[in-house]
Symmetry: C2
Subunit: 189 residues, 2 copies
């Protein structure tokens, strides 16, 4: 895999109880290191539009033709607005990796979905797509991958980590998302 690969990293802004919408931030990085662009779109908290909004954000971007890969922080954004990585891949032709530092607790997720959403089975089915794999680098991370095999997914993650466990495009998206919303960036992805 080329070190100069263009990756789009995506994370959501933090949101408070009562907020209906939340912005999500995309960053285009070359080689996972050099920032080339920043994108933003808005989704509904606990809504169903995250997948579609990400596809739109990618399709309208002037960086689209250069992009080779999408990395997303987690299996859902804006609460339980679940990400259909397979659909994003099929519609944009860009491979998708979702990545988390903690292993998603599928039992807990299932219970929460069941409690809060009439369409919980549909959401759960999307979250379960592809299964979750543990990747052991310097730190373990948990990924799903669509349109890219595991070996290439691991290579892409390795290329784009400078330090710590999280690829730069996601780390930077997280810093921007928290910094813009709260006035100062915080925490870990």
């Amino acid at each position: 895999m080329k070190r100069e690969i263009r990756i789009l990293g995506i994370d959501d802004m933090p949101f408070s109880f009562g907020e209906e919408k939340v912005d999500i931030v995309g960053v285009v990085m070359r080689g996972g290191i050099y920032l080339e662009g920043v994108l933003k779109t808005t989704i509904e908290v606990d809504g169903k539009d995250a997948t579609e909004k990400i596809i739109e954000m990618v399709e309208r971007s002037k960086h689209k033709e250069q992009l080779k890969l999408i990395m997303i922080d987690g299996v859902a954004l804006g609460g339980f607005n679940v990400i259909d990585g397979e659909k994003i891949y099929l519609e944009t032709s860009l491979p998708v990796i979702t990545i988390t530092r903690k292993k998603p607790d599928m039992q807990k997720i299932k219970e929460a979905l069941r409690k809060h959403f009439d369409d919980w089975e549909k959401r759960l089915k999307i979250i379960e797509k592809g299964g979750i794999k543990e990747i052991k680098l310097n730190y373990p991370v948990y990924i799903k991958h669509f349109g890219i095999d595991e070996k290439d997914a691991v290579d892409a993650i390795k290329i784009s980590i400078i330090r710590g466990a999280i690829p730069e495009p996601i780390r930077v998206a997280h810093l921007i998302a928290t910094g813009i919303k709260k006035g100062e960036s915080t925490g870990r992805c």
Copy 2:
């Protein structure tokens, strides 16, 4: 000068006619390359609070103790909300460099200030502080510097440019500011 120097780069978001407030974005970069934090504050379009708001943003930041230098895109933010680099330096003890790609046209600035503001002389005096110096690197840039001599200012700029004419902390602040406001980052600083 240490290559690992922490620099805060500042730029404002674009704004439209009729908007009264505008957000400004600060990015903390190590060695002008590795993003460590994102800050945001809000100022009045054509107001008088930019200097004070920048001082506040710096003072409340958890990165304050690590910061060694502030770089600001231009001599005013949010229209004609002029930046008093000397005051920022005196209050924060951090050297300040303002930097532009185009030479500020002092005659035009003076006319615009005169036309729009009763306190135009006060604003002009702030803009004129320190004078403007042309620095010839690969591309020329125009700077003011407070609390740092010209040689060190040039060194800091050189250290923090990866490509083009603009130091990374300002380039990245600009990408974030335009991307978050417009949905996709645009243009040059």
